[in-house]
Subunit: 432 residues, 2 copies
């Protein structure tokens, strides 16, 4: 690789501009090394708020930040929008659709994708929320469903249209079910005066005995009660066996007649993990050394959802705070290596977790404290301000969320691609 | 139609929720008649700002207003999102994909579509801006082009990528060319520090001897100078003969090597006009009576771009203010009919026209006054506030435009569907 020899400074390549990759990039800004950022999209996506876009609470631009805007002004950071097609770890370069990129250090932060656990029926018929187009597509579908329901006369057909099944009682499923229920009960009630919205159901299914298992029991109870108060039917100890166009079949045989199935019951490592040699752990995750380096390959680190890191006998969860701490750690480990040092093993500091339930309520736990209700929601808001440190326009971003959230509940109810509203149910013969 | 006989109140059906249809609906709110609004999309689109979405200055939700939000609270207005498939004017009902809708009065306000004047090559390869998805698609393409250009080594290939041809020197073409040039020179200069943006060209072609023909000569000169100062090459007396993937051929044979062709050189009546019996005028427009009613069919009115209305020996132009005045007129004509009166013939009051050139400059003419520069731009802003009267959330909408326009020049640079960035040029073999 004569190109590497002629380069004066060492190069770090970071694949993936999610939480792990972005945090690593921020920590390597102005560090003296050349840093090349790679992602198939040109933006960093704030995934936790995808459900807001899907339920018409925010628009896409509020939760996606162009990478080039984030790295402006830092001369050692550059970005290439391209897809990684392979990894040549012995020769130390990353293969992409735009050619190979040689590296001295590599941080793999490709994230995760939805795990359907091999269930083909579910995979074919379910919606999920991992990528930005998912959210707009789901929003268009939800709105389109109500537009169809207005024109449907057969009550059974209408109820099928208006029944939504959400699978997965973790924060994603809880937040989506809550926001969807609010959208229907508060916004659609006024938009669709001719519809009897009592015909609409939002059903949240969880295989475990309780939702939000990562939270203390008191908060789980609070969340469940709030969801039910908002009209969500919460069913625990319930597993989905199959799904078809218009039905969801539970283990045990019960069939729920529903047009829409939303799946947030599991994630697995992104396909990028499959390009890394070696055995994988559960969810396809890559086992790493205590310093997050890839065993057997010098200078390669894996962070975020793709990495399998054991702590206190359990794998670290696939959540944003873990990815952010690991991304920062990997960046610092590289800098320490350059200075001849050796980093301490990585240790995740769990600062708690949160889930919103509707517009002004949430549950939050951290630092030995449990919060619920409006204070938890405020804590959620401030925590995200903290998260945004390192983003130059963080105040603008936060104000934008607030602005949209409070003032634009009407604006975002657009069906931007009518193709998403193709009816999957037989048309009726209406005349009126 | 026994259904009509059993209805207690008369029904107005308005097809099309553009400027004409929305204005008619607003004037019929709380009027005692039942009003059914029909559109294939669930929003009213503020078309004049599509170019802002296409050049990453505004997001979609800023310029599209859900119809249901607009009509909330007015019990006599209802909306059906469906496509009109035919018109049965003798039997007085509109055929749609969701069934037939009977009417006592009908207002056709279907708008217009892009006119390629039969040029198949241009139609196949050009972008246009008439519908909301057009704008997002064009934005994704522009951003994707620059992401590709960063990774292209062949200078000829790169120049081809970075050359944009805009056809049509009316307000649409002028505004788009100006905004695109600003995006490249001010925003992309910082986002793509490795690109030599002097390689990028924005070329505005106009068949007539001057751009903005509807404006006084002094303003035309001003606009042309400003565009040139912003880096746009303005070529008048220039017609396009053909277009291919990567080239634009002028009448006379000159070939411009350009990846992107934008066509705003003409519009014609929407296909809905073809469902109306009778001969059509230029552009497929429907000749109407002096009271905008359709000859031979009682109770049917045609407004907006689809209507051919002669005034002072010339057809009225296909612009928003004409559609708005006609929509209001048709609504009032219906109310007068119901009270036994007869409306005066329609007469358009030309209050002037405007075009923006970049972020803080514009040309505007009206009431015998010509404005240019910053004051014209302010006039543009206030005129749009006036336009928004009738929209409940007009202050919010205007603030939103301002908010986005000034603060979010960075946010909207998202490529939301990477499929739009498929390279149409052969890939190179890069290694670095």
């Amino acid at each position: 690789m004569s190109e590497r020899e002629t380069r004066k400074t060492k190069r770090v390549v970071i694949v993936g501009m999610g939480f792990g990759g972005i945090r690593a990039a921020q920590c390597l800004a102005d560090c003296g090394l050349e840093v090349v950022l790679v992602d198939r999209n040109n933006y960093h996506l704030f995934q936790p708020l995808l459900y807001q876009v899907a339920t018409a609470g925010l628009e896409q631009e509020s939760i996606a930040y162009p990478v080039r805007a984030l790295i402006r002004g830092w001369k050692n950071l550059s970005f290439r929008m391209t897809e990684v097609t392979g990894l040549s770890l012995e020769d130390r370069y990353v293969q992409t659709e735009a050619g190979g990129i040689a590296y001295d250090y590599l941080i793999l932060a490709g994230g995760s994708e939805t795990n359907y656990f091999g269930n083909k029926g579910v995979e074919q018929h379910a919606f999920d929320l991992k990528r930005l187009p998912d959210a707009e597509s789901l929003r268009n579908t939800i709105l389109g469903i109500f537009e169809q329901a207005v024109q449907v006369r057969d009550p059974e057909l209408r109820r099928q249209l208006l029944t939504f099944v959400v699978v997965g009682g973790g924060p994603t499923g809880v937040e989506f079910a809550g926001a969807l229920s609010e959208l229907i009960r508060y916004v659609f009630r006024k938009d669709y005066p001719t519809l009897d919205l009592d015909e609409s159901r939002v059903i949240l299914l969880e295989a475990a005995p309780a939702i939000l298992l990562a939270m203390p029991e008191k908060l789980r109870e609070y969340a469940k009660k709030n969801l039910e108060r908002m009209g969500v039917e919460v069913r625990c100890n319930t597993m989905v066996a199959d799904a078809g166009p218009g039905t969801v079949t539970l283990a045990g045989g019960e069939v729920i007649v529903a047009r829409t199935l939303f799946w947030s019951a599991g994630v697995k490592a992104a396909p990028l993990a499959g390009m890394v040699p070696g055995d994988k752990g559960p969810g396809g995750r890559i086992p790493v050394n205590p310093d997050l380096s890839l065993p057997g390959y010098d200078g390669v680190f894996v962070v975020g959802d793709m990495a399998l890191v054991m702590q206190d006998g359990k794998p670290l969860p696939m959540v944003a705070p873990v990815a952010m701490q690991q991304g920062r750690y990997a960046a610092r480990a590289i800098l320490q290596r350059e200075q001849g040092g050796q980093p301490e093993p990585f240790r995740y500091r769990d600062k708690g977790s949160m889930a919103t339930i509707g517009r002004s309520s949430a549950v939050a736990t951290g630092f030995g404290v449990s919060l619920s209700g409006y204070f938890a929601w405020l804590a959620w808001l401030f925590l995200h301000l903290y998260y945004l440190i390192g983003f130059r326009n963080r105040i603008v971003v936060l104000l934008n969320w607030a602005w949209y959230y409070w003032f634009h509940e009407r604006q975002v109810r657009l069906i931007t691609t009518p193709e998403c509203t193709e009816p999957v149910l037989p048309k009726e013969n209406n005349h009126g």
